[in-house]
């Protein structure tokens, strides 16, 4: 437990760096922030007034201090287009993004890990070649393009999937909010019909993300599995007559997962970015599409809030990855 807390402490300098960069990004806004906040018709006088009220006439360190103080209250400013506090909107929209990203990631892991394992166990087989094609092609796919192709094939041509218009179609109403994840909340409410509707909406965007995240995961799983299968302790396990599944899963795969978990950090970086594009393609009401709408409207507070939120999420995810690593690897546990 102490080690876990130490890990958290270790992430503090990174978090500070993230906040500092986000602050600097706010201060290098094109033109003058006060002019921008005052609007195009404002007089010089009112601009000066706004500058004072925003504290923009103060030295940078003092501004940074205020920024930190605001942050500690969760104050991320107001959206000009919606008139809502950025914090509220982000909190409202975060579950949609989280549900989508996690579904995509789980789908990717669920396909990529078995694929990589099979490719390694049956090296040179058809599935190994399939794995190679997937990993090379997968990293070349522009997510927004694969998303559109999936929509065309599965919505327009085959009609198997609903229109790419958000989390639920117009006829369904969202479930009572518990986790904010529709798939979970509908099940908790026992509303199978809405669950089906929500699942149908999420399949294509999640598959788009999964296609994108598949490649690095399958690639590292295969490589790491190959290395482990050639190691001496696997020879021992075979010599001891342990069953095939025990050797491959309990002995080899668990060891092979260590590098896979580490690579998940990188995958998350890609996935959080890809999420923005996929949300735009599927009109998914998450924080990514919120930021994109704000960007188009030159509404900067939501964009900054979004960047900061994503960065903090990413730092936390990396922390979680670290903890998973420690759970799997006793050397990391006892070594540190």
């Amino acid at each position: 437990m102490r080690a876990v807390l130490l890990r958290f402490a270790g992430a503090i300098p990174t978090l500070f760096g993230v906040v500092l960069v986000t602050f600097l990004l706010t201060r290098v806004l094109p033109g003058d922030t006060a002019t921008y906040f005052a609007g195009p018709t404002a007089s010089a006088e009112s601009i000066a007034q706004i500058r004072t009220s925003l504290g923009l006439d103060r030295p940078l360190p003092e501004q940074f201090w205020r920024y930190l103080k605001d942050l500690s209250h969760g104050d991320l400013g107001m959206s000009l287009t919606t008139g809502q506090p950025v914090k509220t909107e982000l909190i409202n929209r975060l579950p949609a993004s989280a549900e989508l990203t996690l579904s995509g990631l789980l789908l990717a892991i669920g396909i990529a890990v078995p694929l990589g394992v099979l490719a390694a166990v049956r090296q040179g087989s058809l599935i190994d070649h399939a794995c190679r094609v997937v990993t090379t092609a997968g990293v070349s796919l522009p997510v927004f393009f694969t998303g559109l192709v999936l929509v065309y094939v599965f919505y327009f041509l085959l009609g198997w999937m609903p229109a790419p218009l958000g989390r639920l179609d117009a006829f369904a109403s969202p479930p009572p909010q518990r986790s904010g994840f529709y798939l979970l909340d509908t099940l908790l409410a026992g509303d199978i019909e809405t669950f089906r509707a929500a699942a149908a909406q999420i399949v294509l965007p999640a598959a788009t993300l999964a296609l994108f995240a598949l490649a690095p995961i399958a690639r590292i799983t295969r490589a790491s599995m190959l290395a482990v299968l050639g190691s001496e302790f696997i020879r021992t396990a075979r010599a001891s007559g342990l069953s095939g599944p025990t050797v491959v899963i309990t002995y080899a795969l668990r060891n092979a997962l260590l590098p896979v978990v580490t690579v998940l950090g990188m995958v998350f970086s890609f996935l959080l970015g890809a999420n923005v594009l996929v949300e735009k393609v599927f009109a998914w009401p998450g924080i990514g599409s919120y930021a994109v709408e704000a960007l188009i409207a030159s509404d900067y507070a939501p964009v900054q809030g979004f960047v900061l939120t994503m960065a903090i999420l990413y730092v936390l995810l990396n922390l979680a990855i670290d903890l998973v690593n420690r759970a799997i690897d006793p050397r990391a546990r006892r070594g540190a």
Partner: protein, 320 residues
Amino acid sequence: MSAVLRVEDLSVAFHTRGGTVHALDRVGFTVGAGETMALVGESGSGKSVTAYAIMGLLEAAGRITGGRALLGETDLLATDLSRIRGRRVAMIFQNPRAALNPIRAVGRQIADVLLRHGGATSGNARARAIEALRAVGIPDPARRANAYPFELSGGMCQRVMIAIAVAARPELLIADEPTTGLDVTTQAVVMDLIQAMAVQTGMATILITHDLALAAERAQRIAVMHAGHVVEAADTATLLTRPLHPYTARLIAATPTAAGSLDALQSVPGGLPDLRGSTIPPCRYAARCERRLPACDGPLVTRSAGDHAVACANPLEAVA
């Protein structure tokens, strides 16, 4: 004496990019019940390949091209080994720390084998694993059962390996350089333990080593391997005092003894021949041999007098 393992004409080839390597050629030997037999030879002589072939653990490029390995009535080369490995034949390796799963507690690794072969149940597996650790002389076994290999010394890890190997009371234990890489005192302790376990369970042991002195000290019989051939096999005393094969004689001369002086040590001249292709000489030692005769280019014949077998056209003493 009944034989636990009888290996006959075992041949193994490896298919590599550079051609087919004929790693083993008609290898044969027997191991009696409760006996320790040493397979001795330089690295590359085929000792470990022999063991892996018997265990069915050859890497993908390796193919058994002929022969039998009879464990009782079972031909190990022609059966599914999944129910035999670990149960009737077990193996321990050099570099014990790398040979154990780094992220699984050693007690659980023993329990895995006990559950598979030793008739343990999920209820008593842990207790029996602790018992197995105690039997190989690990102090405080209940605590050590939770340890990971990186937390144990090399000697301790080798004890764990032995516990895993003997868990199902196999008929035969193959120990592949079990003491290489351990310090000298630990070496003796580990060898004592292997022999004690053998006596206790009545299992036969194949000791694979490059160290003739170790073999002389621990084995009742010795088979000398050179470039994929068994060149000579005999009981230890006979082999050491009256070697018939020139290579054996060279090996003995190259082995330090407690009484001898270092000045008297001789190295074995030359290296192992190229075992690729089809132009391998019948006697693979001929190129290094000072007793070479024209007859050496004829087919290689193994002759034996009683228990003493030699594959040489011009042995040091005539074979009756």
